[in-house]
């Protein structure tokens, strides 16, 4: 029997600790984004411990580095499940890493909480998706743009699964809702020379650029867009992968007036969010910011904790049953895990970048949107593999 006492709180835990896995890229190209999500996950775990733990037991995180390398993610997932015998894993960012660990979690019949918006077309009972499905981010953003009379759209993305699938959905939507596609460009991950793409955008004269670039490429794109004399008034952009944390790296100057669609913004005025931001800054430094995936990484832990309380055990199969329909009052508002597809219902919002790197919220769905990972516009039959579409 373990008897652990935390110095300050003097909470005595009488039973064995609960082991949970935290699996993110702490090195390599994706560490830019994932380190902050890991931090938020750990903060939630410590908050729960400070409140007396879960079922009277202390939660102990086991942190693994996926190193921005997909086979490593699969290896580390195996290690967490089989060797460390954790009760749940929180982690992953890119779709590639999630696709790499999915078979591991299905084979072990285990449980992963995945905190990032993605392209949809997936629903596993072994994953709880706390980020947005396409109908909770990309599709409302397109509809909003069309309503703003931004009908001529230029699609720009990084060349991998998420942007290609997202753009499939957008193109179907443009056809259905009366927009036109004036250009579509993909650049390799890590691409930094955007002058040619910017010339193509100029020549196509779009009303708006829908931007699904990931990582550092965004910095180069926005800097060079500005240097080419194109401001947000001339051609605005709508991004789905740029949040507050990325704005810090891109420089708010380069982004003022451009749009982004998310479920959570740091500037939201809910009491839960104010506490969340205050605690995050107190823990990790006043210059740190919170954003959507950070928030999803944080409340995922609480959703799981609620499910454990309901099940009365950490047994994976029972928690997986209990998590269906579980709600938690997250910083963005009440989120609920769908009973059908394991995604969470979420508020949808569009923000406009301010000069201080925060967002002015210009549109909100007002109520939570139910998740739909398989949008009806893209027929399930048509999709063989993400990014590949064939005729029925």
């Amino acid at each position: 029997m373990f008897v652990l006492s935390l110095g300050m709180g003097n909470i005595a835990f009488s039973a064995e600790p609960i082991k949970v896995g935290v699996l993110h890229s702490l090195s390599g190209t994706m560490s830019i984004s994932e380190v902050a999500v890991k931090d938020a996950t750990l903060m939630a775990i410590e908050e729960i411990n400070a409140e007396g733990g879960l079922l009277g037991r202390r939660i102990v995180p086991i942190i693994e580095d996926g190193a921005s390398d997909w086979p490593t993610f699969a290896e580390k997932a195996k290690k967490l499940i089989w060797k460390d015998k954790v009760d749940v894993v929180f982690g992953c960012w890119t779709s590639a890493s999630r696709k790499a660990v999915l078979p591991v979690f299905e084979k072990a019949d285990h449980l992963l909480f995945y905190p990032v918006q993605y392209e949809g077309l997936e629903a596993s009972k072994n994953i709880v998706y706390t980020g947005a499905a396409p109908n909770q981010q990309i599709m409302p953003a397109v509809t909003w743009l069309l309503k703003q009379n931004k009908k001529k759209m230029f699609l720009l993305g990084s060349d991998y699964v998420f942007p290609r699938t997202a753009n499939l959905i957008i193109k179907a939507q443009l056809k259905a809702e009366g927009g036109t596609l004036v250009g579509e460009e993909y650049t390799p991950l890590g691409h930094t020379e955007y002058s040619t793409v910017i010339n193509k955008i100029k020549a196509a004269k779009p009303d708006v650029v829908f931007n699904t670039l990931n990582g550092d490429s965004n910095v180069a794109f926005f800097k060079q867009l500005r240097a080419a004399g194109i401001s947000a008034e001339d051609i605005p952009t709508m991004s789905v992968s740029i949040a507050e944390d990325e704005i810090r790296a891109i420089g708010a100057d380069n982004l003022v007036g451009h749009y982004a669609a998310w479920n959570y913004f740091m500037s939201m005025k809910t009491p839960e969010n104010e506490t969340f931001v205050k605690n995050y800054k107190a823990r990790y430094g006043a210059n740190r910011v919170t954003d959507d995936p950070i928030e999803a990484g944080y409340f995922g832990v609480y959703l799981w904790a609620e499910a454990v309380k309901k099940a009365g055990t950490t047994d994976v199969a029972k928690v997986r049953e209990a998590v269906k329909g579980i709600s938690y009052k997250a910083p963005e508002g009440l989120v609920t895990v769908s009973k059908i597809n394991n995604h969470t219902s979420k508020l949808v919002q569009i923000g406009k970048v301010r000069s201080d790197g925060q967002f002015d919220i210009v549109w909100t769905s007002g109520k939570v949107v139910e998740p739909d990972p398989f949008p009806a516009l893209v027929s399930k039959k048509k999709v063989l593999a993400p990014g590949k579409i064939v005729d029925e």
């Binding site: 090195s27 002058s195 040619t196 550092d216 910095v219 060079q224």
Partner: protein
């Protein structure tokens, strides 16, 4: 028409960056036969120098800190090059295969070092006010000041290099070693000294290139990696160790890449350029400008 001019200008500015990165690579490869995979990291060091200077000046907008960063980046990368040469490179002269492995390891170490010092997050250098915006000679055709600046930087670097190599005595010694190592040694040139000086100068120029690319994108531990492959392509295409070859190689790749990218896509543009370079090297393995050497190869 505007698009064509604009693409031409983009091509020139891309050539300028490639040239700045490839200059150092070309001279170290040409003189010492060392394939330096860590060359991109000198560029990264230079870029971080610009960032540090900006931080030290507390967001100075006059651009003085940025101008100061240029010689300082050269000095920092130069010193780092000197140290690396003494500790590692000198054991690798004339051993291209071993040098690939060793310098690649070094590049990983330097990247992780940057990550430890500056964090995993990319950082941003704000261009001084007078480098923001651009000249607009035609409607819809803007020449960004930052790209004009990079172009002039490259011209300056090449001119400096030309005068150094052709007019100064230490530059002449460098050229002699480049053309025939053994003979130069017989003639009393201290080739060890020339080697370390050359390596340090090559590193220093990469440091300046780092300042230039900080105007275009963000700076991170992997910044150097974005340019290293293209730089090697320039060196091989141009002819190893030849200044005019490096210029020609940089121009060819810099001008054709945006062209193909415009008519196809970014990925396809790169593929076409690579393919053409490979075909060209089949026809002329020693590149555009092969160094005439009296050594028996």
């Amino acid at each position: 028409m505007e698009v064509f001019l604009s693409q031409l200008f983009n091509g020139l500015s891309l050539s300028a960056i490639l040239l700045l990165v490839a200059l150092g690579l070309s001279i170290t490869f040409g003189i010492m036969g060392v394939i330096n995979f860590a060359h991109g990291e000198y560029l990264m060091v230079g870029a971080y120098t610009a960032y540090v200077m900006q931080r030290l000046s507390h967001g100075d907008q006059t651009g003085i800190s940025f101008l100061l960063a240029l010689p300082i980046a050269f000095a920092v990368a130069y010193l780092l090059g000197l140290i690396v040469e003494k500790l590692l490179i000198r054991f690798l002269y004339g051993r291209p295969y071993e040098s690939i492995l060793a310098t690649w390891g070094l590049s990983l170490i330097l990247q992780q070092g940057a990550r430890s010092i500056f964090g995993a997050n990319n950082v941003e250098v704000t261009a001084p006010h007078w480098l923001q915006g651009g000249i607009q000679p035609l409607d819809g055709f803007q020449l960004p000041y930052n790209r004009i600046f990079i172009l002039s930087l490259a011209v300056f670097a090449v001119a400096g290099m030309y005068f150094y190599v052709n007019r100064s005595s230490s530059g002449r010694r460098m050229r002699a070693v480049m053309q025939n190592r053994d003979m130069s040694a017989c003639m009393g040139i201290k080739i060890r000294k020339v080697d370390s000086l050359t390596f340090a100068i090559g590193s220093g120029i990469a440091g300046v290139a780092g300042c230039a690319v900080s105007l275009l994108g963000s700076i991170g531990p992997s910044t150097g990696q974005n340019y290293i492959v293209d730089a090697f392509m320039v060196v091989v295409l141009g002819g190893v160790g030849s200044l005019s070859g490096t210029i020609a190689g940089a121009l060819m790749i810099g001008l054709t890449n945006p062209l193909f990218e415009y008519v196809t896509t970014s990925s396809m543009g790169k593929v076409i350029v690579f393919t053409l370079v490979i075909i060209f090297l089949q026809w002329r393995p020693s590149g555009l400008f092969a160094i005439k050497t009296r050594a028996l190869d």
